[in-house]
């Protein structure tokens, strides 16, 4: 059913999608996880309580999260050009993907950290733990199963957002589906990309669930 010229296109598009999602996820986590820790620990009654800081970053996070991805992508073109030297292409698509994912990860990590019982933090404080030790030895390890589950959700969201990257020449499966499947009336290409996306998301979810379960000792 699929003609031979389509197969390389599909593999290339799949490669681009994985590249965009993986690199974006990696960079966004490096910033988003500390952001989540900051959101949680500066909150009221927490170890680094700081109301003005908490409100400031909280508002910034909300602001970015309220912008639809397709608009964010175009709105930050100057920043993208500054960072990667070009505003179009697969690598250029990574900039808005990272920017959109950072506050998302921040909130998800914050949610997981909130589920760590306050008594554990109190116990660590009673043993003379520093705030840094509480974050690295209590909050993050205890919240890890939750964080893994939440990050799985972020990866899946990234797969969806990366499909819009075609709008700035980013390529990937979504782009292929629109250009071949829709604009060139090739429903079999549309179907193939959809199936690949479904399998991809299933695999990510399965891997995430397995890892979270393995980490959960409760």
């Amino acid at each position: 059913m699929l003609s031979a010229e389509i197969i390389p296109l599909l593999t290339k598009a799949l490669g681009e999608t994985i590249y965009m999602v993986a690199v974006s996820m990696f960079i966004a986590s490096l910033i988003g996880i500390p952001l989540g820790v900051l959101l949680h620990t500066t909150d009221k009654g927490q170890i680094l309580e700081n109301f003005p800081l908490n409100q400031t970053i909280g508002s910034a996070v909300n602001a970015i999260r309220s912008i639809p991805f397709i608009i964010l992508m175009f709105a930050i073109i100057p920043l993208t050009r500054l960072l990667v030297g070009s505003a179009i292409g697969t690598t250029a698509a990574i900039v808005p993907l990272v920017l959109a994912s950072i506050p998302f990860i921040g909130r998800q990590v914050e949610t997981s950290l909130k589920e760590v019982p306050a008594g554990l933090v109190e116990a660590a404080l009673s043993m003379g733990a520093t705030p840094g030790q509480i974050i690295s030895k209590v909050l993050l390890p205890e919240a890890m199963p939750g964080i893994v589950s939440q990050l799985t959700t972020v990866i899946i969201a990234l797969v969806g957002e990366s499909a819009m990257a075609g709008a700035i020449g980013g390529g990937g499966l979504g782009d292929l589906a629109i250009r071949y499947g829709y604009q060139r009336f090739r429903p079999e290409v549309m179907l193939a990309t959809v199936i690949i996306l479904i399998v991809l998301v299933q695999l990510v979810q399965f891997a995430g669930n397995t890892l979270a379960k393995k980490l959960n000792k409760r």
Binding site: G119, L120, A123, A124, L125, M127, G128, V138, M144, K217
Partner: protein, 358 residues
Amino acid sequence: MIKLSGIEKIYDTPSGKIHALKGIDLRIEKGEIYGIIGLSGAGKSTLVRCINMLERPTKGEVIVDNLDMMKLSESELRDARKNIGMIFQHFNLLSSATVYDNIAFPLTLSGVSSGEIEKKVTPLLELVGLADKAKQYPAQLSGGQKQRVGIARALASDPKILLCDEATSALDPQTTKSILALIKDINKKFKLTVVVITHEMQVIKEICDKVAVISDGVIAERGDVLDVFTNPQHAITKEFISVLLSNELPAAFRGNEISETKTPGSLLLLRLIFLGESADDPVLAEMIRACDGLECTMLFGNLDEIHGVPFGRMIVGLSGKESAVQNALDFLGGKDVRVEVIGYVRRNFSGGEQNVVG
């Protein structure tokens, strides 16, 4: 070892200020097991947290092991806290760490090498009887075992003081007994000063040397456990004790009118409290021999032990010649027995058996 002076704690809440502690003075000597008992909301958990500054008092002075805790810097306070172990009602163990790693946790915080940690943790595992559970996770343990891990963890940094915040309140009575025995054991073994927060008089009776009864943010009563138990002054203390030692009249008399003067067919009920060696004296037999024409009915009796001191409580009913009853009261007044006159009460006809002493 611990000296609290004029401790006040005021919480600002959206619904107004809450005065949780209203001027508490407390001295706890080295090696003592000091109990603080109170109803929930009395302020006892806040008070114990003032000792290691998990709660900073609004006013007052906290001296622990000669350190003025209120004046320490953050890092000095962290060091001081390593000297004060704490165990909790809900254990507060790391669910993601094994039993071994939980006990090692305070040492990990201090940057102790893994070799040193092993030398420390292995005997602690033995001490609390969990040597075979080292590799398990807290979720696989029972409540009592979790508290044993909590105790071992609290001891890992060789503290001089152990704070127990409702440490047995989530445990069943059997497990409570074994955990209390363990606390008593380590108190002796390590000359550890222990502060026990509880709402159960049983815990106080079981292990404490001294007790403070806290009510509505103030200490209502304090002293040696034996004194407070045998001669409670404050209503709240009597209430706590009544859970263990019923103050009700025997069923055959319960609910009947208590009169100060003799009514037909009534007995004069006395509550007698024997303490120490007097519990062994044949006081009642002597009384009956000494007072001609006296009838004495024993209605209730129980013999307990607090810190190895026998502690007997008894209710007797006196009847017979009026002069004989008066003689009996005089006789008891001269003995080493505390006598509380309840009053003249009639017996229900329908219930209760009686034992006549004599």
